[in-house]
């Protein structure tokens, strides 16, 4: 199954105004009344919780109504429909996408991807012993720089049975497990991307089923830090980070949000192919991040000038 990754997450939220403002402050671009997108066209849809045209909400109160995956071509859409129709209803919607439900009860959609190819430089660094990535007189940072999310990266679900959830995505949709936290859940990537993960499951009690977080890729760690700093300066509250994960190696900074889940910035994720052998580790702080920083307001050394007497 040539699934590339999530194209869109569709939310039906309690506070539409707050969520739309969060999306804009996070750095997404508003396309129309409900669509907020990254530079490659992937993004989120924000609806009111009263919107009856959307798939039903989970009983747990999760505000995510649907995860819409982008796939390579119509043949892949047809193949997914043929596979999943063996044991569940798969609807074809007016826009040509298909809609069904996974084994956990999350609504999934599949469409020929809307993801646009980007031709943008990554964040560059200069390091002794390596060829410079930035030329002479080329500066690395700017106070005026505005960070822009590039691409919808991944979504993390709370699920009551991570083994069952993993089996569905592996056996029915061709996802590959890249790494795993024992007794907690797997990191998974679909066949159409080398990203370490576009999906991660956290095993939880049934009443927790929902979204733990979702995130967009940034150009590098500086952009993660600048985007996060800008969110803090707008009054949003940090949940976790900034720091750098071990599985995936991605830089991260998570924020609480009015979406009923955390929203992350990430950058510089590992790429893997079918030669990669999945690692396993116990969950916990030491295995979750290689380091974790702590936000403080901007500060400068100095202090008052010396007194005349000294």
């Amino acid at each position: 199954m040539n699934i590339i990754g999530p194209d869109k997450l569709i939310f039906a939220v309690d506070d539409v105004t707050a969520c739309k403002q969060f999306a804009l402050d996070y750095g997404l671009t508003q396309l129309d009344d409900v669509n907020f997108v990254a530079l490659d066209g992937t993004g989120i849809e924000i609806h009111s919780k009263d919107n009856a045209s959307l798939p039903e909400a989970l009983s747990t109160g999760s505000m995510l109504r649907k995860t819409l995956y982008g796939v390579a071509d119509n043949a892949t859409v047809d193949a997914i429909k043929a596979e999943l129709s063996k044991d569940r209803e798969v609807k074809t919607l007016d826009d040509g996408s298909i809609e069904t439900m996974d084994d956990m009860g999350f609504v999934l959609g599949f469409q020929v991807t809307i993801r646009q190819a980007l031709d943008l430089p990554a964040e560059t660094i200069n390091a002794p012993g390596a060829p410079p990535q930035r030329g002479v007189n080329e500066t690395g940072v700017s106070k005026e720089f505005v960070a822009k999310p590039r691409s919808l990266s991944h979504v993390v679900y709370f699920v009551p049975d991570a083994v069952k959830a993993e089996a569905f995505f592996a056996e029915r949709l061709g996802f590959v497990t890249t790494d795993r936290f024992k007794h907690m859940g797997p990191f998974m990537r679909p066949a159409g991307t080398n990203d370490h993960h576009t999906l991660f499951f956290l095993n939880t009690p049934p009443h927790m089923q929902g979204v733990e977080h979702f995130t967009f890729h940034m150009s590098g760690p500086t952009e993660v830090a600048q985007a996060g700093n800008a969110l803090v300066e707008k009054g949003y509250q940090s949940f976790w980070g900034p720091g750098r994960h071990i599985f995936g190696s991605n830089w991260f900074w998570y924020f609480k949000s009015p979406f009923g889940c955390n929203v992350e910035y990430d950058a510089d994720m590992d790429l893997h192919d079918d030669q990669w052998v999945a690692r396993e580790a116990m969950p916990g702080a030491d295995n979750s991040q290689v380091f974790l920083l702590h936000y403080e307001e901007k500060w400068a050394p100095g202090g008052p000038p010396p007194s005349k007497a000294s």
Binding site: G61, S257, N262
Partner: protein
């Protein structure tokens, strides 16, 4: 001095909430919800993780209808009157309640020694 004045009830509109940082830590450690002439105060810590504050922005402790207290990390809903989580990650657990003394002038007071207990 262990008693701290949080202000007057009228500083919080009915059906609204407000965070406070009486220990001057730079982070609100408690919040007060005013509802129907009553005030309810809780430690600003979600029982899901035990170290996560609730709001996504300062003072944003309630849902859009101002019916429940919300933890913005994972959307848990809490009853305003008793702090019980009725939906979400910490269902069945409760926020740590803080006693608020309201005097005849409607000034709200808390005892920092009580708040200190919630740090352990």
């Amino acid at each position: 001095m262990s008693r701290v004045r949080l202000g007057n009830i009228v500083d919080i509109a009915d059906g609204q909430a407000r965070g406070f940082d009486p220990g001057c830590t730079g982070q609100d450690s408690l919040f007060v919800v005013r509802k129907g002439g009553m005030v309810y105060a809780y430690s600003d810590v979600c029982p899901h993780y035990g170290s996560t504050s609730l709001p996504w922005k300062r003072h944003q402790y309630l849902d859009a209808a101002c019916k429940y207290i919300v933890c913005a990390a994972h959307g848990a809903l809490f009853d305003i009157e008793n702090g019980l989580c009725i939906q979400g990650a910490c269902e069945g657990q409760s926020l740590a309640k803080i006693e608020v003394e309201v005097n005849a002038c409607n000034d709200m007071w808390v005892d920092l020694r009580i708040i200190e207990e919630f740090k352990s």
